[in-house]
């Protein structure tokens, strides 16, 4: 439960914790302040073992038929023993659902990456304008991205679809411009 200085890894004195003033680390002399919370005194959770089946009519674990079921998977409803029970922020998930949920991003707490297709579309619409002749290729591509990924999972953070709209507008203007240019060329 020691707290170390994040600069030099020296163990800090508990007397310096939770003070409003900044004290210097003895080792690296950097001014620092430590705020501690009750979780610091909580021991690390220990892994549990599934209890063996004692009575014949007791529900058994779906994955370990000789172990007693203690909880039901929140996602699929399978009975789980203590060993198979994965506690994800209050939800009891079985290993199979955990794997599937992570892959398919159904468990929000495990979702740690998102691709921002709206940013891609906007960049593809705007940046090629530096070399305007490539916009005849990138403008249709931009429109494709906007249509294809309009319903893709957006950022977890508050974000509107304004980039998609802007990208589509710019791409349509570029296509219109090329159409006008082609029409004039033919005439």
């Amino acid at each position: 439960m020691n707290i170390t200085c994040s600069n030099c890894q020296a163990v800090l004195d508990a007397a310096r914790f939770d003070t409003s003033a900044y004290g210097n680390c003895h080792s690296c002399n950097l001014p620092l302040r430590v705020l501690t919370f009750p979780a610091l005194g909580r021991p690390l959770p220990v892994g549990r073992e599934g209890a063996s089946l004692r009575a014949p009519r007791t529900a058994s674990c779906y994955y370990h038929t000789r172990k007693q079921a203690t909880v039901v998977c929140t996602a699929c409803g399978r009975f789980l023993c203590a060993l198979c029970d994965m506690d994800i922020n209050g939800q009891h998930i079985c290993p199979s659902c955990l794997e599937t949920g992570r892959k398919e991003r159904r468990i929000k707490d495990l979702d740690d990456h998102r691709t921002l297709y709206d940013a891609i579309a906007l960049a593809m619409a705007v940046l090629p304008m530096l070399f305007f002749f490539v916009t005849c290729i990138t403008a249709p591509l931009t429109l494709y991205i906007v249509v294809r990924y309009w319903k893709a999972p957006p950022s977890l953070l508050p974000r509107t679809r304004v980039r998609f709209v802007l990208a589509a507008l710019i791409a349509m203007l570029q296509i219109g411009g090329w159409g006008y240019f082609g029409y004039n060329l033919l005439i």
Partner: protein, 344 residues
């Protein structure tokens, strides 16, 4: 496993236009989002798991003040007292002064770490004391509330007996190295070459003020093309690598610089066509004309060259400095002291 929208409230943000970190407050956790162009990576810290928040004051504000202030003052002196065209110097001086004022307004700098049972993570969006204090005022009561059913932590702390002073932890690498948690080895060679090349590019751009001949121009052009290729390869390599975010940002900024140079070259060629229509049929003549252009020929060229010199030098040196921490100690590594204790 239902998909429900979580409402987040923004607490802090740092970084540039294309790559930045932001800190958000969720209903029961803090979320750090690392945004790089078109992808976002998230880390969550649940209120009931946060053990401590460690804040260090740093002197980076003074460093930034020096970095912005000195070139600004020098440019102002050259612009007002020198016998050259003053406009580019005054523009440069104004920009440096603007950045200096922003830096002073944002206040002292700091580094903040959040410690949980298994990790000790640097909170990159919190780099200024003023913002940090606001965030702490908001978050601290929530953490205390989430841990209300736990006993106070301080009495249980196992500080060595009689330790009135701080004691140094054992050196890294000493002892049972095989049981130590080791982060993946990160290859930063390509990035080092890129940042070194940027510094050289700045020097080459500086030499262009005094040297203007075909051989040197071709060499400088080839060198810039090499830097472009290096930048693209470095960007491709750094995805999913353990390279720290600052170095990644510098690489993205290098791409921006490269794009600026390409755009400037494009604009210069258009301008050359406009002023010398006979070059329309003579591509080699155009290339020769562009190469023999000296920054002293035109005020805009001088401004562009100065921008490239400052940007390339800043990116190169800054990038090399950001890679230094890969030598010293890995960022965001699990709390070594604690894991070592557990292993023991």
């Amino acid at each position: 496993m239902a998909r429900t929208a979580t409402r987040y409230r923004k607490l802090a943000k740092t970084g540039g236009l294309f790559a930045y970190y932001s800190l958000w407050q969720g209903p029961d956790h803090l979320l750090i989002a690392e945004t790089a162009m078109a992808s976002e990576d998230y880390r969550r810290f649940y209120f009931h798991e946060i053990q401590a928040i460690i804040v260090q004051k740093t002197g980076m504000q003074h460093v930034y003040s020096f970095l912005f202030g000195l070139p600004g003052v020098l440019a102002l002196m050259v612009g007002t007292l020198g016998d050259t065209t003053p406009q580019p110097w005054l523009i440069f001086s104004f920009l440096a002064g603007l950045f200096l004022a922003i830096n002073l307004f944002r206040g002292p700098t700091c580094v903040c770490h959040i410690r949980t049972a298994v990790q000790n993570v640097k909170i990159r969006p919190l780099v200024r004391m003023r913002r940090l204090n606001k965030v702490l005022d908001r978050v601290q009561p929530l953490i205390v509330e989430a841990q209300a059913n736990l006993p106070s932590a301080t009495p249980g702390l196992s500080v060595p007996a009689g330790a009135s002073r701080l004691t140094r932890a054992p050196e890294r690498g000493a002892g049972s190295a095989s049981t130590m948690p080791v982060t993946d080895a990160v290859s930063t060679r390509l990035h080092r070459i890129l940042f070194g090349a940027l510094v050289i590019q700045a020097l080459l751009a500086g030499i262009e003020f005094y040297v203007s001949n075909l051989v040197y121009g071709i060499f400088a052009t080839l060198f810039v093309m090499g830097v472009m290729i290096l930048t693209v390869v470095a960007l491709a390599r750094q995805t999913d690598s353990g390279i720290n975010a600052a170095a990644k940002r510098f690489t993205w900024a290098a791409l921006a610089l490269v794009c600026l140079e390409v755009a400037a070259g494009y604009a210069a060629s258009i301008w050359s066509y406009a002023t010398h229509p006979e070059l329309l049929e003579n591509h080699w003549g155009l290339y020769e004309h562009l190469i023999l252009l000296s920054p002293r020929d035109h005020v805009w060229l001088m401004g562009l060259s100065l921008t490239i010199i400052v940007a390339a030098l800043g990116l190169g040196l800054g990038g090399l400095a950001s890679l230094r921490q890969h030598r010293r100690r890995p960022t965001d590594a699990p709390d070594r002291g604690r894991l070592r204790q557990a292993a023991a």
